[in-house]
């Protein structure tokens, strides 16, 4: 049966905040006090961003928001392990990863405000825009990695997806292709225990990490609420990929502390005790405990972090509420790269149609 702790779970930071040694410890030996503070700041900021976006949704400024609450360590730990020239293919919940990639905050919410089909330029931050069809992006990452290998480059493609996604054919096919072509891709599964209302026990009868080895892909199960461990296993997987060792699979065991999206009501399907339980494993508290123990959680530092978080949240809000409305004919843009006779005609007709109201004195009849 699956567990959320146990021997096979890589952990470098106990829930109490003690840094422990372990086979993966060497991968984060360079993470000194200042860098720990940096990771703490990242996690606080993305949680603040998440809260602000959730508030914006509640206030009617966003149509929907998929909170990452509880998954900060998995996303920051892995996200901060990446090199700039690595390329991320994610699902909809990886705003923490996008933050690590340097996304413009306004770009985070364009989709959720309903203004645009995507937020950012994938090539600017080397991260594809969110992909909603569950599992499909794992194949894109694999193909990208195959192309990287063709190019002889040493950058790595990273696919993010959830526990639910592992049931999809596409994710399994991605493992087949990644293994066959020894593609430099890292499969990063955030097992947050739930796929909307479905517990992971419905999707998998064994640890999710147990699946990859059968495809010939080494895997590791990591405490997803331990930012150091997440960083360590990701670094190891990236290094394997860079040095020609092929794909890796990481299961980060974490918890979706919020609803699936702001449209969801988890009280219908999950035991509140479970949430309480996981609060004791909060990824930010855990790092705070370590910083505290090391005398690094000074008031000065936390003030700075909170100020930064507020500042980012304010930028997000400002970007959101001042986003210009899309133009009337924008729906016709970017369907094709080159003019398309039938679509041009539809655009033309619709332009005339809109003009007919103005001709008639404006407004619909």
């Amino acid at each position: 049966m699956r567990s959320v702790s146990g021997e096979n779970l890589v952990q470098l930071l106990t829930p109490e905040g003690t840094r422990v040694a372990g086979p993966y410890g060497e991968w984060v030996a360079d993470i000194d006090g200042a860098r720990l503070q940096g990771l703490y700041e990242d996690m606080v900021v993305v949680r603040r961003v998440d809260q602000e976006a959730t508030a914006l949704q509640r206030q009617g400024e966003l149509a929907l928001w998929p909170p990452l609450l509880g998954q900060e360590a998995a996303q920051i730990g892995s996200g901060r392990a990446l090199r700039k020239d690595d390329f991320v293919f994610s699902s909809y919940r990886e705003n923490g990863v996008a933050y690590c990639r340097g996304v413009d905050y306004t770009d985070m919410i364009r989709v959720w405000r309903g203004n645009a089909p995507s937020g950012w330029d994938p090539y600017e931050i080397n991260m594809a825009t969110p992909q909603v069809i569950i599992g499909a992006q794992t194949l894109h990452a694999t193909g990208y990695a195959m192309a990287t290998k063709l190019d002889g480059a040493d950058s790595v493609a990273v696919a993010y997806f959830g526990d639910g996604a592992t049931s999809q054919g596409d994710v399994n096919e991605a493992m087949v292709f990644a293994a066959s072509f020894q593609a430099p891709v890292v499969f990063f599964c955030q097992n947050n225990q739930w796929a909307i209302s479905e517990p992971v026990t419905l999707q998998a009868q064994r640890d999710i990490a147990d699946r990859a080895p059968g495809f010939g892909i080494p895997s590791v199960r990591v405490d997803g609420n331990d930012v150091l461990a997440c960083m360590a296993v990701t670094r190891e997987a990236l290094e394997r990929a860079r040095s020609g060792g092929g794909p890796s699979f990481i299961e980060a065991v974490t918890y979706r502390m919020g609803p699936h999206t702001t449209a969801d009501d988890p009280t219908r399907y999950r035991d509140p005790n479970e949430l309480e339980d996981w609060k004791g494993r909060d990824p930010i508290d855990r790092l705070a405990n370590l910083l505290e123990a090391e005398g690094l959680l000074t008031a000065d530092f936390t003030d700075r972090v909170n100020a930064k978080a507020d500042e980012v949240a304010a930028q997000l809000r400002h970007g959101c509420v001042t986003l210009p409305e899309p133009g009337e004919l924008d729906v016709f843009n970017n369907v094709y790269t080159t003019p398309h006779s039938v679509l041009e005609r539809q655009r033309d007709h619709y332009t005339r149609y809109l003009a007919s109201f103005e001709a008639a004195g404006g407004g619909a009849r």
Binding site: S167, R268, E325, V331
Partner: protein
């Protein structure tokens, strides 16, 4: 008679079907405790058990594929696809298995599946949550395709669909789920066939054909047109495949003018089939070429732009003007 929402009408219809036939099982994502993301299966798992209301792992091809296997063994699976845009992973099983198995086995194996699909836009949703994929299925031989527009039909036709020995794609206009209407739960399921359209509003000048969420818009447009002295007959197709040409032909022979509307892209949409078939069948009764008022040939746009894409009352009225040769948005253009 009771007044209930569209969503509740389907829920009640599913419940009746399950009570009536123990071989009816539901399968889909989040349909158990949650009752589905639209609550259409609310309480059904509690009342019928997890073996008849099956929360499936997250894989649409498997939902359909295992439903095929259950049908092989005499079950009547009702599959829920969570949103229109998530039906594509199951396309292979639907097109190559569900649609073909009765034919392949020379009539020995029946595939009485019902595939429920909340479809269409107008709810301000994200990508893949507002699509209208029905034309892919109306072009697929071996399937029947239904779309309902009101609580009564939802209640009646979901039961008819489940009772039908052919596979049925059942498209539910999700933006209507919360709309209330009267439902006669004692309705005789045999009182009309699964192939029958309905004249919603009789009229003389123009036939306006719609289905799903656009039926209400079409009715509103007909009322608006009446104020301008134009009598519009509104037809709710209900059966998208096969089309009820008896009803359509009778209407167009009378009006001589046809407008057809849908949210799906124009090219290759159901409107093309209706227009082509009606032209074939009623050419000499037509006073004007059939007019299509549809979504554009674009991916479904972001929420803030969807009102441009979706046919609304004004666009339908413009279509009516066009088919009547009255001043319209394209006046002056040849062969518009």
């Amino acid at each position: 008679m009771s007044t209930i929402t569209f969503g509740r009408a389907i829920n009640t219809g599913l419940r009746k079907a399950m009570e009536h036939d123990s071989k009816v099982v539901l399968i889909g994502e989040d349909i158990g405790k949650l009752g589905g993301v639209f609550r259409i299966t609310d309480e059904l798992q509690k009342d019928f058990g997890a073996h008849r209301v099956i929360d499936a792992p997250l894989a649409e091809s498997a939902i359909l594929g295992t439903a095929v296997g259950m049908a092989y063994r005499g079950y009547r699976p009702v599959c829920e696809i969570q949103f229109d845009g998530f039906i594509y992973p199951a396309f292979n099983q639907i097109v190559s298995q569900v649609a073909k198995l009765h034919y392949r086995t020379q009539g020995r194996v029946k595939m009485p599946l019902t595939i429920r699909v909340p479809f269409g836009g107008g709810i301000g949703a994200a990508e893949h949550h507002s699509e209208s994929p029905e034309a892919y299925f109306t072009h697929t031989s071996g399937l029947r395709v239904i779309s309902v527009s009101n609580p009564q039909d939802a209640f009646t036709m979901i039961q008819q669909a489940i009772a039908c020995d052919d596979p049925v794609l059942f498209f539910e206009p999700k933006r209507r789920y919360h709309v209330k209407g009267e439902v006669d739960e004692e309705v005789d399921l045999g009182s009309f066939s699964l192939e029958q359209a309905r004249v919603e509003i009789p009229g003389e000048d123009v036939t306006l054909v719609a289905y799903g969420a656009l039926v209400q818009v079409a009715k509103d447009a007909a009322l608006a047109a009446r104020e301008e002295g134009i009598s519009v007959e509104v037809i709710d197709l209900r059966s998208l495949s096969p089309l009820d040409f008896a009803t359509l032909e009778a209407s167009v022979r009378k009006t001589g003018r046809l407008v057809i509307t849908h949210e799906a892209a124009m090219t290759g949409g159901l409107g093309a089939e209706v227009a082509a078939s009606i032209t074939e069948r009623c050419f000499y009764h037509l006073e004007h070429a059939p007019v299509r008022v549809t979504g554009f040939d674009i991916p479904y746009p972001p929420a803030k732009m969807e009102h441009h894409h979706l046919p609304d009352l004004d666009r339908m009225l413009d279509g009516v003007d066009r088919v009547l040769g009255r001043t319209n948005s394209l006046s002056g253009l040849e062969g518009n």
